[in-house]
Subunit: 211 residues, 6 copies
């Protein structure tokens, strides 16, 4: 059947440059290339992991590869994202501009305080957006996905996004394991669960589906 399906607007939210790419970069590439509008909010320039100017440039380069329409930058300091009404308000302002149909953000149980706090604020700010999905990252805990996106055709592109963050490649706290190794194994692992070659996994808080 041919259906007239309008382009959706998607807002992905992350604490540091490369968080979004690790969690849902393949999904965003897929949707941007299908004509949907992809927008990113990044709360900090990630100064804890490297020179913030460099990291901003890496992020902008990654967003361009992804086909994202715009990166919204928060002005928070790495490791110090607060759970505050001010941050809720900032995300609400982004939402007022983007009017997204989908929100992607960090899974709520995470050992990184920035991730926890940003997600708490995001839950508040996006209260009336119909589709809300949590993505996973290396510091997620107790994450058990119930929704998947097949990224078999986007895995290389996802790797390219992560390679754009060249300064972060080996900051994994595990010897001989690069961020690319981690992302590839996660994509294979989630693919097994979704019965496809490569996938990204999500926990759905709420999702209005159409077959």
């Amino acid at each position: 059947m041919a259906q007239e399906q309008p382009a959706a607007r998607i807002l992905a939210i992350g604490s540091h440059p490369d968080d979004i790419e690790y969690g849902c970069g393949g999904t965003l590439v897929k949707y941007a290339s299908a004509g949907h509008g992809v927008f990113l909010y990044v709360a900090t320039a990630g100064s804890f992991g490297g020179d913030p100017e460099l990291r901003r440039r890496e992020m902008e380069a990654s967003a361009e590869i992804m086909g994202a329409e715009k990166v919204f930058w928060g002005d928070y300091t790495d490791t110090q994202i607060p759970e505050s009404q001010q941050l809720v308000g900032e995300i609400e302002a982004v939402i007022a501009e983007v009017r997204p149909l989908f929100i992607f953000t960090h899974w709520r149980d995470d050992t990184h305080q920035d991730h926890r706090n940003l997600t708490a604020c995001t839950l508040s700010a996006t209260r009336y957006i119909p589709n809300f999905l949590f993505y996973e990252g290396p510091t997620s805990q107790n994450f058990s996905p119930n929704v998947y996106v097949d990224i078999s055709a986007q895995l290389d592109a996802k790797m390219a996004l992560l390679e754009a963050h060249a300064s972060q490649m080996t900051k994994t706290h595990i010897e001989e394991t690069s961020i690319l190794d981690m992302a590839r194994s996660a994509a294979t692992y989630r693919g097994i669960q979704a019965r496809v070659r490569f996938a990204e996994g999500f926990v759905s808080q709420r999702l209005l589906i159409d077959v």
Copy 2:
């Protein structure tokens, strides 16, 4: 964007006539009318709740209103659906014929043994089907949905499906509450969670989404 989207084949599985309608009737009406193929497997004729011949006829009438392509009937006795390899095999045979992309069945925590056993067998038989959603019913326990279908435009049709099961209208074990009252309040309640007028709620075990 105009997308060529192929018709999906959907298999809904229930223990007794009207279980499927209560849990996901609105969703099935929506998808059938959108051109997707809707198939039903009903394990028993529901003799515990009324004359089995009558109940079969009610079910067939409901399936016709729904636009379902076929009702597969199991030959089990109401209240005695087993958790058995034979039942797994029967569902596998239906799947081999229908080749569905989506499975809908009872939520796994339920006070009715038929629902629990049928769902256990369905989990086994549908192991490699990519989309698997649990629907709710009056005997579900601890059900907290994470996926919704907007049935605002299908609520009347859902009521019509349930009315086709005229023999069951007041068998709710609650005074002054008909099955229609129950279904309508559930649709409103799940709509609140999905931020739409009326919805059906599902727990996703796995779901491959495309925006």
Copy 3:
């Protein structure tokens, strides 16, 4: 058996005018009319949802209909309730005055930051109160009740409480659904689970029962 049962003192805690009524208004009407002492703590005047003076008056009117003995008002700003030791102390002071046997408050998983923060402080302040129940609201997430109160005889009174908050009637973020529609469908939905006509559902954290 005739038993001499002393009147219990109940403290219900909510962030904004009408939160308590939506979550457990029928229960409070039932207990107030049975001679128990009902006390309310409302942390903000709800200025985000309307004129705070008006909303205070609506709340006081509702409390009078309910038969509550007193409304304690917090002095917090709507959307800015903190998780703070000061708020814990304020609730402790109310508890010292009321000496309640029962606490009712927002469910802890909620998209509204005020609800989350108030509940966190309430958990601390009420540590030694034997009965602690969470109520639900439209912004609750993952709420699955295990305790119910039959409000079949109090549904109309519950509607009257909500009507006292006339300024909030249509602020539901869902078209054609008023707060009364929402409350009525929730009461029916929870009634189905409790096998009664209308109910309010609660999650018990701890509850000392006597048959």
Copy 4:
């Protein structure tokens, strides 16, 4: 307030002699002595743990101490209780005779197959009984109670019930720990959570409360 409160009828269900006593013996003593009607269903004579004739006599003696009105005996073999429609039917027959308001049974996650199977059947058979509580035992897993009964005044009586099962006193699989030691420590441990001297803890599946 003086309230006319009718006597409730309570049905406690257990697999073997002394299971009920361990899980909720104090509660049953409390309610029987308050004038409520206490009924017991015991599915096996516990031949795996001793002479079945002796164990039946111990059970009958315990029931008499408890003040129970009647012990219904199932005819199942210890370790072989099935999850079957026949057992569902037997429990339904007991319910038809007792018409209980409250059901107490084993917690559903348990390493003993008899406990799991009996509880599955009980969930089905008691579908329309308004109050359903799970009790704990030494083989329960992942049990985290949300409802408590204060048995400070019944602890000695609970010990007497367990002592009536003299043949089981040291069958605990832990050196130097008798069943009395176990029950006493559980009562203290649950009392800590309930903020009373001694308590029994329960998981409520559904419970209609009145303050």
Copy 5:
């Protein structure tokens, strides 16, 4: 510190040849080579996945590579493992012979009925064994590990175990993904969570640790 640590006896339980290897093969290699006694119980010869004689030989070859002391074979038919008292008894007999300190078996939530049923029986039969760990497999659901074993030095050996099951190499239901690809990605993915190069992840039901 030098400690005299006695060899532990470990019993790993699986439904089909290669289930144990996929779930905990690296762990078993590690412990066997450290001098502990490794024993295997395999309930079926896996006739659904190939010639049963061939599969038995593959299993015996794998056990030899692993350094296991003995494979106990159940006589069940693939896809038809029952949840029965007889199977509980058989596992109890193996336990009486092996006297293990550790049990490893399938995670309890699984789409394969054989895995679910074997695990239910194992939970019963091993009730008094102090250490009980669930391993994962491709058909596990909702598995979120809390215990890990570092198999960085055993990954190659684990691959060798799986290669011994040559007949199963490509039976993954996912194109272009072999069982080796799956196991390698799982080891990397669980390694990320454990902060080591490669790991196997487990859910602990109970585990008596010593630092």
Copy 6:
């Protein structure tokens, strides 16, 4: 087998003097006496529960009995421990000095705000420590352990640790129940689950085991 097993370094974290002892004192005595290095971080002097100078002295005495190498003192005020980046940094500094292999801290669901906040900060600060276990206390909620330490030989020593906090002996909010009664019943109760005489129970977030 004789194995050369290096001494492990353990860091236990608690909000107030005696929290660590109640939760894992027996475990720490066991490991200190086995030659491992035990270090303690106590965030406040517990002025809410008594004279802070006295409580510090009690804590130091207890640490000496325990065989701990050092107590690190935080400078926070009792009841006012924040969830802050500063506290994360302080714990990171302790970790840099101690280089622990194991972290023990409060269970994350607790009615005491100090416990919740300290644990949230600890989760962040210890992100790359391989072994992370939550201990329980009287204000824990929904705690269901999956790891145990046998403290049958250390129960008396654990009692001695708690007796060193003489000022806290009866501050239990439960009549006739001292902190020693509580700890003893918990040790018995957890012992039942671990199939030993006395145990401490833990929830493992991640744990790298070796048999």
